[in-house]
Assembly symmetry: C2
Homo-oligomer: 385 residues x 2
Amino acid sequence: MSVTAAQGFTAAGIAAGIKANGNPDLALVVNNGPSLAAAGVFTSNRVKAAPVHWSEQVLRGAAVSAVVLNSGGANACTGPKGFQDTHATAEKVAQVLGGDFNAGEIAVASTGLIGVLLPMDKLLPGIETAAAALSADGGEAAAIAIKTTDTVHKTATVSQGGWTVGGMAKGAGMLAPGLATMLVVITTDADLDSATLDKALRAATRTTFDRVDSDGCMSTNDTVLLLASGASGQVPAYEEFAEAVRKVCDDLARQLIGDAEGASKDIRIEVIGALTEDDAVEVGRSIARNNLLKCAIHGEDPNWGRVLSAIGTTQAAFDPDRLNVAINDVWVCRNGSVGDDRDLVSMKGREVRITADLSNGSESAVIWGNDLTAEYVHENSAYSS
Amino acid sequence: MSVTAAQGFTAAGIAAGIKANGNPDLALVVNNGPSLAAAGVFTSNRVKAAPVHWSEQVLRGAAVSAVVLNSGGANACTGPKGFQDTHATAEKVAQVLGGDFNAGEIAVASTGLIGVLLPMDKLLPGIETAAAALSADGGEAAAIAIKTTDTVHKTATVSQGGWTVGGMAKGAGMLAPGLATMLVVITTDADLDSATLDKALRAATRTTFDRVDSDGCMSTNDTVLLLASGASGQVPAYEEFAEAVRKVCDDLARQLIGDAEGASKDIRIEVIGALTEDDAVEVGRSIARNNLLKCAIHGEDPNWGRVLSAIGTTQAAFDPDRLNVAINDVWVCRNGSVGDDRDLVSMKGREVRITADLSNGSESAVIWGNDLTAEYVHENSAYSS
C-alpha cells in the first residue's frame, strides 16, 4: 500500500503530460498530521539537481507537509531557471492545497533526463489534477507515476504494534553507492520527532540503498524521504522503529536491483573475514563494479579470477595468498589459487551469490549488484535519442 | 619492426600448443648486448600473477638478457605451483640459449585466463622451437604470438641519430589505469644505463599506458619492459631518448584503445582548467569509466548530463556552476547548464572528443577510453566458457 499504508497520508499519481508517451509522471504525497516530522538523505554527487538543492533546504526546517515528485525530467544541470522551476512547483502545491501549507515545507523530487528544463506549462496544471485526486489509497498510483525505465513499481510496508512504515521507490539505472539512483518516499504514522526519524533513516540507508550498485553510476537526483504523521498516536521504541524502517528500505532496495536496466542476474556479494566493515564495503563495491565479472556472470561463467583481480585493486587489508572465493557456495578459489572444481557451480537462477573471504578479521558486508548485458547497453545507448 | 628494429636483438614467435586453437602463443626476445641494461613497470594490482612476481625480482638486478612471453594463460592465482612454473620457464630459456645466459636475468610475462595452470608439457618444448627460430627480423612474429583477444598485433618504432626505439604490445580487455592490461616489450640499441632507462620508462608510461581506460578493470599481469643493447654505440641525450620512448608508448597505447574488445568508438577525454594535474586525471578517469556515458557514446548520443554526473563523483576542486563540456568541439554544457544545441554534435566517426573544463586552474590531462557495446558483453561473457 505504499506511502498511504500509514495513517495520516493521502497520495495521488497522474499523467501531467511531462512524458511524451502519456504515462503517469506526477505524484503527490501529503502528510495530514498531526505531526509534520521528517528526515531526508540525498545524493552525495557534487553535481546536484535543482530539486535536491531545494529539498535539502526544506529538510533543514525538519517539517514536511507534502512531497511532489515528477518523472520525465531530472531538472539537473538546468541552472538558475531550473531552480526557479522547482521553487514554482513547491509554491503551486502550497497554493493548491491551501490552508496552512507553505512552500518552505514542501519537498520536490525529479527524475529523468539530465540537462533539460521541465515543461512547466504541463507540470503546474498537473499539480491541480493531482491535488484533486488525492486519496487515502492513492499510494499505488503515486508509486506508478514516479517510474522511468522501471518495469514495475516498488512498494513495501511493515506494520506492528499499532503503527506502520510504508514506502515507494523508483530506480532502474544510474544505481550506485551513496546513494543508489532513485527517489524514495517512506511514511509512518508513528509519533516520533525529526531527529529520531533522521537517525533511523540514516542507519537504514547506510546498509540498504547505499549498498546497491547496479552500474557504478551515481545520480544527481537521489532522494530518500521519511515523513511521520503521528496519526497512530503510537510512540514505538527506537530500536523497533529503526528495524521497521530498515526492513522497508531493504525490501525496496532489493526491488531496485531486481528491476535494474537490462539485468538478467541479481548478484549478492558478501565479503567476510574483513578487518573492518569499511574494508568489506570497499571490496564488495569493487567486485560489484567490475565490468568483466559482470559480463562473466551474465554468461553464467564462474570466473573467480575476475573477483580476485577486482579485490586486488582495493586498499583493504588482506594477503593475496589467503583469499577465498565461493560462487553459489562452491569454494572455487582457496588461498588465492585454484580451489574446488568450477564445474560444480550452477548459475542458472536469477540470483548469484559471491562470497569473498579476506581471512583477515571478523567484519562483513553485503553489496547487491547486477550483471552487464547487451540489453543494458541497448537501453542506455538509446535512452535520450 | 617491433622489438627487432633496434640493433642487438633477435626474436621469435611460434605456436607451442598452449592455445587450443593452434594460434601462435609463445614469443622470445633476446638481447645480444653488449649491454643488458633494462627497466620494468608492472601492474599495481595487489593480486599479481606469478610471472610479475618473478620479473619484478629479475629487474632488481637491472640486467635482462631475454624475455619469454606466452599468451593462452595468465598464470595468475595459481599458487606455489604457478611460481615454480614461471621459474622453470626462465631456467629452460637459460638452458636452451646456453653460454652466459642465466635464469636470474630472464624476464617472464604471461597473458590469458586467470586461475589456470600453464601446460608446461607444451610450453617447455615450445621454448626450444622458439630459440631455434630466433632471428633479427623476428619482431613481427613475436608481436603476433602475444595476442589474446587482440584482432591485430601492435608495434611501433622511432629511429633518429643512429639509434632506435621499437616495441610491441598486446592488450584488448581488462584495460585500466595503473597500468592498462597488457604486455609490452620495448627495445633500444642506445647505450644507456638501467637507471636512465627506468626514468624514461616511468615518465613515458605515466602519461600513456597509465591514461588508457577501456573498461575500468585492472589486470594481474600488466608488464612493460624496456631493454637496451647498446649495440648502436650511441648515447643519446636523456630528453631526446625519453621523448622517443614516450612516442613509442603513446603509439602503442593508442593502438590498444583502437583494438579494445567490442569497442566501436575511441573516446579522447581532455580535462582542462584543473587546479592540479591529479584533479584532471581523476576527473578524466571518472568520465572514462562511466558505463552510462559509454553507452550513450555508443548510441552517438551527446549526453553531457552523464559527463557532469561523472565529474560530480570525484574529489577534484571545481564549482558545479562553472563546469563546461564540449563534445566534438560543440560546447553543449556551459556553466553547469544547457549550452549550445546538442543537435550540432556529429558523432559519426570512430573518434569522439570530450572536453571537460573545470574552470578552476590551468592544469590538464588526456585520458583515452572506449564505448560500451553489446559486443563487449558478448566477448566477455563467453571468454572462458
